[in-house]
Each structure stands twice: as structure tokens, then as C-alpha cells.
Symmetry: C2
Subunit: 210 residues, 2 copies
């Protein structure tokens, strides 16, 4: 049984989707020292006056000024088989860092959004707990049973990645072995403690309380 609350990342990855605008993802950028920008995301991130620890990726989208000024923190991985988010995750893992918040994973091209979100499941299989904090909520990859402490009324969605025997306590609508994404969306927390039972992997999206 996992109790998944009070997650505190060791590092934050700034992805090249929409730059975060809401309080929670921006908060990680202010609270965390190890900020890793994915390639071109550095242009926008550094323009906010914040500091980066590393800039990782194939680095073909970096502006010439950034490339020159920040050359010492650039780690270039030209491999075309993986995306920049995964390169950043792998770089962190090589440094022993496996608890990661990702911001800017969504927005802009939807194919990138879908790719970035679903990769959280693969990272989890490799022993890396990476969560994607968007402007609206957080995506949390899970294997097996899990517990969440949430305010009653919070909207929660569950996306199945091959898990079976899915059921839960503390949600308004019953969950099951969903075979389409929409089936697990827009559930609602009815108890301060939500317990999800499952064999296998799934992704939980928790909408920030408004």
C-alpha cells in the first residue's frame, strides 16, 4: 500500500509546452534549487529572471545568446530516439535524483502533451517518481494500490494503463478496468481519504481545488 501525499521533488524539469501560469507549478520553480530546462524551454524560463541548474536536450532550439551565456550548464544529448523530457529525466537519474516535478509538460501541441503525460508511467517502471504539475492539476503515475488525501469535492480522474481489478473507496462514481480514457474522467472525492485498489499501472489526475 502506497500513501501518496506530501510529495516533495528533488528537482524540477521545465518542459517545452505552455510555460506555467498558475501558482502550484510556479511555486515549484521558486521552492526548488535544481531546475532543469528542456532545450528551448530555457529561452522562456531564463527570461523570467530565474536561475537554471542545467539545460538538457538536443539543444537545437536554444537561442544563440543562451547557448553562449549558459554553455557551462548545457548538457547536450543529440539522440533522436527520445524526447527532451526523457533526456532530462535520464540525466537526473544518472545523478541519483528520482523524485521529480515536471512543469510545462502540457499545452501547445496535443501529441506532445499525450506523449509527455504517458511517459510518467514508463519512468515509474524505471523507479523514477515524476509528477506533471499543469496549470489545472497534477498527473501522478501509480502502480498498485494507492491512497490520496484530498478535500471533499475535488475532481479526480483515473487513466488506466493496463491495470486490472480497479476499484476505489472515497469517490463518487465506481471505477473499473477502463478501456477508454474518458471513462475515468471527472470523478469526485467524497471522503478526505481516497483509496484506489488495482493490479498494474494507472495515472491519477487531481484537479487543484479552486
Amino acid at each position: 500500500m502506497n500513501t501518496i501525499t506530501d510529495f516533495y521533488p528533488e528537482a524540477v524539469i521545465v518542459d517545452a509546452g505552455s510555460f506555467p501560469q498558475s501558482k502550484i507549478p510556479l511555486g515549484w520553480l521558486d521552492k526548488c534549487d535544481l531546475i532543469v530546462c528542456c532545450d528551448g524551454a530555457a529561452n522562456r524560463y531564463l527570461a523570467t529572471g530565474r536561475k537554471a541548474w542545467r539545460i538538457v536536450g538536443d539543444c537545437d532550439s536554444l537561442s544563440p545568446e543562451i547557448r553562449e551565456k549558459y554553455g557551462d550548464i548545457v548538457r547536450r544529448f543529440p539522440d533522436q530516439e527520445t524526447n527532451d523530457q526523457t533526456k532530462a529525466v535520464r540525466y537526473l537519474k544518472s545523478k541519483g535524483i528520482t523524485r521529480i516535478a515536471i512543469v510545462g509538460a502540457t499545452g501547445l501541441r496535443e501529441d506532445h502533451t499525450l506523449g509527455n503525460i504517458s511517459l510518467l508511467i514508463d519512468y515509474l517502471k524505471q523507479g523514477i517518481e515524476a509528477r506533471a504539475y499543469t496549470d489545472y492539476g497534477v498527473f501522478i503515475p501509480v502502480y498498485g494500490d494507492s491512497k490520496f488525501r484530498c478535500e471533499v469535492g475535488t475532481q479526480m480522474s483515473i487513466f488506466n494503463f493496463g491495470a486490472i481489478d480497479l476499484h476505489a473507496e472515497g469517490l463518487r462514481y465506481p471505477i473499473r478496468d477502463f478501456d477508454n480514457w474518458w471513462q475515468g474522467t471527472l470523478n469526485e472525492v467524497t471522503s478526505p481519504l481516497v483509496t484506489i485498489h488495482a493490479k498494474g499501472n494507472y495515472l491519477v489526475f487531481i484537479n487543484y481545488s479552486s
Copy 2:
């Protein structure tokens, strides 16, 4: 074998995600007479000076002014089991309309985005061909084999919804029976005619040529 080109919708649904900003989704709003707004999407849509044919949904997000002024075109379905996009699709089907473009399906909350996109597969199973035109590309639900005419170099992604024996001609990277969303992303068209073979359902995302 389906040849999926030259799709011309009979009606356009304006969903309550980000209001479209790019030429292709806005083009459908200008070219099509039967525009159906999902609930609160009407507030923003009508403010652009365009005309709506119907406003469909539970209608709890309509501004009082719109509700009063456009009462004759509002079709209220209070059922909480389906979302407003599906209510609009069902309304159109009840009028015999089954070839539909959806705009504004993505953006804002990612749980809504994932729900809206994946529902295209369910609509297809009900004999409705609905495509979601975003600011970046188009999502096309498919059953079985398909052909696409595209410019060489176009980026294409394939999301598997339980199909087997997936393979293709005219794409840079081989496709297979993907079991995670990211695996089919960011492929590239290498021939003016792409042929996808499959048994079952999948979703194709074609990035607009820039």
C-alpha cells in the same frame, strides 16, 4: 479499406476548451452553417459576432443574457452521465447528422482534453465520424485499415485504442501494437500516401503543415 481525405463536415461543434485561434478550426466556423455550441462555449463564440444554430448542454454555464436572447436555439439536456460534447454529438445524430468537426475540444483542463479526444473513438463505434480540429492538428478516429494523403514531412501520431496487427507504409518509423500513448507519437510522413493497417480502433493525429 478507407480512404480518409477530403472530409467535409455537415456541422461544427464548439467545445468549451480553448477557443480556436488557428486558421483551420476557425475556417470551419466560417464555412459551415450548422454551428452547435456546447453550453458555456456559446458565451465566447457569440462574442466573436458569429451565428449559432443550437446551444446544447446542461446550460448551467450560459450567461443570463445569452440564455434570454438565444432561448429559442437552446436545447437543454440536464443528464449528468455525459459531457456537453457528447450531448451535442447525440443531438446532431438525432437530426441525422453524423459527419462532424469539433473545435475547442482541447486546451484548459487536461482531463477534459483527454476525455473529449478519446470520445471520438466511441462516437465512431456508433457510426458517427467526428474529428477534433485543434490549433495544432486534427484527431481522426479510425477502425481498420486507412489511407491518408499528406505532404511528405508532415508529423503524424498514432494512438492505439486496442487495435492489433498495426503496421504502415509511408511513415518514417515502424508502428506496432502500442501499449502506451507516447510510443506512436512524432512519426513522420515519407510518402504522399500513408497506409495504415490494423484490426481495431486507433486515433490518428496529423499536425498541420507549417
